[in-house]
């Protein structure tokens, strides 16, 4: 575009039929014609740039919107929700005048192109979303998916992604308190990097992205604008990237965590002094997004002089300035008489801040460049009235076959020796193995409020030292379950995240989600997406935990083969007294080990079928939300009363893996007696949902059992903790010395990534 002289509104009127590169910018013809209709003329090249990024899949949710609506329509009534979907992130009231905001977002494709920077800037982006709500970011989690551990490219992508998440998050001083790591063939070339950030603010301190008050100043502050990710929003994030229209512009965005750290402190000081009317982070679609969204949500108009934007690269054209995704930038709306104070705070933190415009009530977003009018449009048409598609939906042809081949005939271990070998093998399989090679690269201690962190089921941070109130959060998602049944798969992810939060003793309050799927233009993928959204919305309604926000990532596929449909669900809960939280893992000698819930012969999508037989088929485990709620109520009471000294949820690998992890957590042994009459293989390796392993001091057994009975929660005493003998002993089945077990469990990742 830069070859041409600046295209002005005047020129657009004078030369209505000029040919425009809308296709190259990812706009369909009817979308382009609609823009002409909205404007009553052809767009200028700058306006075209704005519409192209704002109407991209990534920013407009044009394929997903009709489905995401359900989250609002089916949202359960709760007075905890201060800000719902549609803002940068949802805000939840957690009591004592405190509120918490949290959201998860994907940075998948950039993390494939340049793992370190892609993952780093992914963290940077979600942290700014949280900051924008007026909150201090207090923790991050990362949910990751990679190709097979042995795959060549995994050796490049995984270490880079992990170093990037750590490099950025550690430098911001945000404890990393949780996440997930899974491996599957479909993620080769399509790694998933979903980052979640939690922030805390006073309930009356919520900031919104609106430009109110005609005459107020529009301030751009933070990093200078460079040619980063130009077309990124419309290309990198929403169509296979070889279509990218590339010039001598960065192929990769480099994060500057130090710039973001000072930006955070600067913003928090600005919020504390109440110096902004509205604020918006610059993420995808940069200035285009910030100006149109702020104006549309506020007084309706804005005048901007693009010449005033501080540039890192002086050769940028106005179109490129509008599309630039340069990191570590924010836009604030400030009353004229607060401006000086605002700029002083920025100066204190050495943050560049520049007034680039003024709020108006003209209903138009107007921009000038070199004194000429280059943009004049109704901001709502770009920010809100983007195209909405009813993409064709079709159940995949192979879905029935996939479900019918349920693996009933897969050879199962027949005796103790075979079961022992199977349990050892699973413990060392990539999806179940120790992840500390990854989590030890993240700072878990900074801020001094981390109560629970990996490998705990949920992360738990203290919000307030005086009240000891805290929040717990967990992310979960199982692509294999979702592939077998997207509706159930999304609900299983929700159920597990809910359970993980609940068993710490926290009360689950709200949900965020990141929906990672293939191409929405593939009706089979769209079916998976629609089913997953429906399942999640129904599940949230049943559990009474509203979806407060999230993110959609489409086009995660290689050629025509999409990734496993991977909805990643984040659940946030509150605990009144963090000192009462329930940790994971055996610690107290003679504590009685109870299995809560029911075990059925459920191996569809199981880790056993996959790791041992490379098989995927059948139905995923059944979901029972009332059971999950019973578990939550029992564990909340148990935490309050101090009845249990440890709890761990059963997931991939079933009871066996839960026992392995509970023993290895503190190198404490256990003696287990499986219920007679049952099939040891099913008891040990089934992945039935709604189950938890707890250890109960003898003293409290009666109360605890009574509590379970009162909630119709099956509670089976299956063993006892043994501090003296470091062995996992399953009576009559096998004995696993913890040393041998730890070796198998912890060797896998270091062996792969050792240099």
């Amino acid at each position: 575009m830069s070859e041409h002289p600046t295209d002005t509104v005047q020129a657009a009127e004078a030369d209505p039929d000029a040919k425009q590169p809308y296709k190259e910018l990812g706009l369909a013809e009817d979308e382009y014609l609609h823009i002409r209709e909205l404007l009553g003329r052809r767009p200028t090249s700058s306006e075209l740039a704005i519409y192209s990024v704002m109407w991209s899949e990534h920013c407009s949710y044009k394929s997903s919107r009709v489905h995401l609506r359900q989250f609002g329509e089916k949202a359960p009534k709760t007075d905890a929700l201060l800000v719902g979907m549609g803002e940068n992130a949802g805000v939840v009231d957690v009591g004592d005048g405190w509120a918490v905001t949290f959201k998860i977002e994907s940075h998948n494709h950039p993390s494939y192109v340049e793992p370190y920077q892609g993952a780093a800037t992914g963290v940077g982006g979600i942290v700014r979303d949280i900051l924008t709500m007026g909150a201090r970011p207090i923790a991050v989690l990362d949910s990751l998916r990679f190709g097979p551990l042995r795959a060549l490219d995994t050796g490049r992508v995984l270490p880079g992604v992990v170093a990037g998440i750590g490099g950025y998050g550690n430098c911001l001083g945000l404890p990393n308190i949780g996440g997930e790591v899974y491996f599957d063939d479909t993620y080769v070339g399509n790694p998933l990097v979903n980052a979640l950030c939690v922030g805390v603010l006073r309930a009356d301190g919520v900031k919104l992205a609106k430009a109110d008050g005609p005459g107020n100043k529009v301030v751009l502050f933070g990093a200078r604008t460079g040619g980063d990710g130009i077309g990124g929003a419309s290309v990198l994030a929403s169509a296979s990237f070889d279509e990218a229209h590339q010039k001598k512009r960065p192929s990769v965005q480099v994060g500057d965590p130090f710039a973001e750290k000072v930006l955070i402190e600067c913003c928090l000081e600005i919020f504390a002094a109440d110096l902004v009317v509205g604020i918006q982070d610059l993420g995808a679609a940069g200035i285009s997004c910030a100006t149109t969204e702020l104006a549309a949500a506020g007084a309706g108009g804005m005048d901007v002089d693009l010449d005033l934007v501080p540039l890192r690269d002086p050769t940028l054209t106005p179109e490129e300035i509008l599309m630039s995704e340069s990191q570590e930038r924010m836009m604030a709306v400030v009353e004229p008489d607060r401006l000086e104070q605002f700029l002083e705070v920025c100066a204190k933190w050495e943050v560049t801040a520049t007034v680039i415009g003024t709020v108006t009530d003209t209903g138009r977003l107007r921009m000038t460049w070199r004194g000429e009018q280059i943009v004049d449009l109704p901001p709502g048409t770009a920010a809100n009235d983007g195209p909405v598609y009813q993409r064709p939906i079709e159940r995949p042809l192979d879905q029935d076959a996939l479900v019918e081949h349920d693996g009933a005939t897969l050879p199962r271990p027949r005796n103790g020796a075979e079961l022992r070998a199977t349990v050892m093998r699973l413990a060392g399989s990539p999806n179940l193995a120790d992840k500390s090679w990854i989590t030890d690269q993240y700072d878990r201690y900074v801020m001094g409020n981390t109560v629970l962190a990996p490998p705990e089921d949920a992360g738990l941070v203290r919000l307030d030292e005086s009240t000891q109130r805290g929040v717990a959060i967990s992310t979960d998602g199982n692509g294999r379950y979702t592939r077998l049944d997207p509706y159930a798969g999304a609900q299983l992810a929700l159920a597990e995240a809910y359970r993980n939060v609940a068993i710490t003793g926290a009360r689950p309050l709200a949900v965020t989600n990141c929906l990672n799927f293939g191409s929405p233009e593939d009706p089979a993928v769209m079916w998976q997406f629609a089913e997953a959204v429906r399942g999640l919305a129904d599940g949230c309604q049943t559990l009474g935990t509203p979806v407060t926000g999230g993110n959609v990532s489409f086009y995660n596929q290689t050629g025509t083969s999409p990734i496993l449909p991977t909805p990643v669900i984040g659940v946030l809960g509150v605990i009144d007294d963090v000192r009462r939280r329930i940790p994971q893992g055996f610690s107290a000698d003679r504590s009685q080990i109870y299995l809560l819930g029911e075990t059925r012969d459920e191996f569809g999508g199981s880790e056993w079928a996959w790791a041992v037989h490379g098989f995927l088929g059948g139905r995923p485990p059944a979901v029972d939300f009332s059971r999950e709620q019973a578990i939550a109520e029992v564990l909340a009471e148990a935490a309050r009363e101090g009845w249990v000294d440890s709890a761990h949820d059963l997931a991939e690998g079933g009871l066996a893996q839960a026992l392995v992890e509970c023993c290895l957590r503190r190198d404490v042994g256990a003696h287990i007696t499986l219920p007679d009459g049952g099939d040891p293989f099913v008891e040990l390796l089934s992945e039935s949902a709604g189950r938890v392993l707890v250890s109960v001091p003898r003293l409290y057994e009666a109360e605890f059992a009574a509590c379970c009975a009162a909630h119709d929660l099956p509670a089976q005493r299956i063993g006892v903790v043994d501090l003296l003998e470091p062995v996992l002993d399953v009576e009559g089945v096998f004995r696993l010395p913890l040393g041998e077990l730890r070796e198998a469990w912890s060797r896998t990742l270091p062996a792969r990534f050792a240099d």
């Binding site: 170093a163 750590g166 490099g167 550690n170 430098c171 911001l172 001083g173 500057d256 965590p257 130090f258 710039a259 750290k261 000072v262 933190w349 050495e350 030890d440 690269q441 993240y442 700072d443 878990r444 201690y445 900074v446 801020m447 001094g448 409020n449 981390t450 109560v451 203290r462 030292e465 963090v578 000192r579």
Partner: protein, 226 residues
């Protein structure tokens, strides 16, 4: 009540934690700002952990030139107790208040773990609350924590008993002589890579073994005040 200053540089992260540890130790935490040379007559100073100036160029290389460091350097030479934790240790080395330097971990990865240490010098301003030879567990978290120095300096440090804390059960980062922390000749300036401020509460750390650093200086300052 003893007053202990905590410096905040742009990019400091564990300044709040250090202030909390100082309060837990019964002293008053006084915030000091990198751009302000005024030390507000504190009895001691902590340079906290973090990534001052993003750890760009070299950890601590840029922070070292801040106005507050000019005052601290002068005061330290006159005996003001100064503790540098992690990034603070790096700043002290860059400022030549302590010998040697800290370079990239030999693993070439950031490492966060609970680290067993031995207190080898319990006579400094910051370790008097410990027993000589006491073993403590304190979180370690850094990417550039390998202590290096030339042979002469190492011999000097060892010879004069100026190695304050040493890593036990495995060297986490390639530090020469397993050195985790050192002191100056006078014993008022101490730097270490592990984070004692993250081990002052059972709830949020591996234990309370780190509290001694802050109790030491609090007691010292209280004594001086009396």
């Amino acid at each position: 009540m003893p007053r202990v200053g905590v410096v905040t540089f742009p990019g400091s992260l564990d300044d709040r934690d250090a202030a909390r540890a100082i309060r837990v130790a019964g002293a008053e935490a006084v915030p000091l700002w990198h751009a302000d040379p005024e030390l507000h007559d504190v009895d001691a100073v902590v340079l906290p952990g973090g990534f001052s100036y993003g750890d760009y160029l070299r950890c601590g290389a840029i922070a070292r030139f801040s106005p507050v460091m000019q005052s601290i350097t002068a005061a330290a030479r006159d005996g003001l107790p100064v503790l540098g934790i992690c990034n603070g240790f790096q700043v002290l080395c860059e400022a030549h208040l302590l010998p040697g330097a800290l370079v990239r971990n030999d693993s070439r990865k950031f490492v966060c773990r609970d680290q067993l240490l031995r207190v080898e010098n319990a006579a400094t301003a910051w370790t008097s609350a410990y027993e000589q030879g006491q073993d403590v567990v304190v979180p370690l978290k850094n990417g550039e924590g390998a202590y290096v120095a030339d042979k002469r300096t190492l011999a000097e440090l060892e010879g004069e008993g100026r190695v304050v804390v040493r890593y036990l059960n495995g060297n986490p980062n390639g530090s020469y002589h397993d050195i985790a922390g050192i002191t100056n000749e006078a014993g008022n300036v101490v730097g270490l890579m592990p984070h004692p401020e993250h081990a002052v509460e059972e709830l949020t750390g591996p234990g309370t073994d780190g509290l001694g650093f802050f109790l030491s200086v609090a007691g010292l300052a209280a004594g001086a005040a009396r």
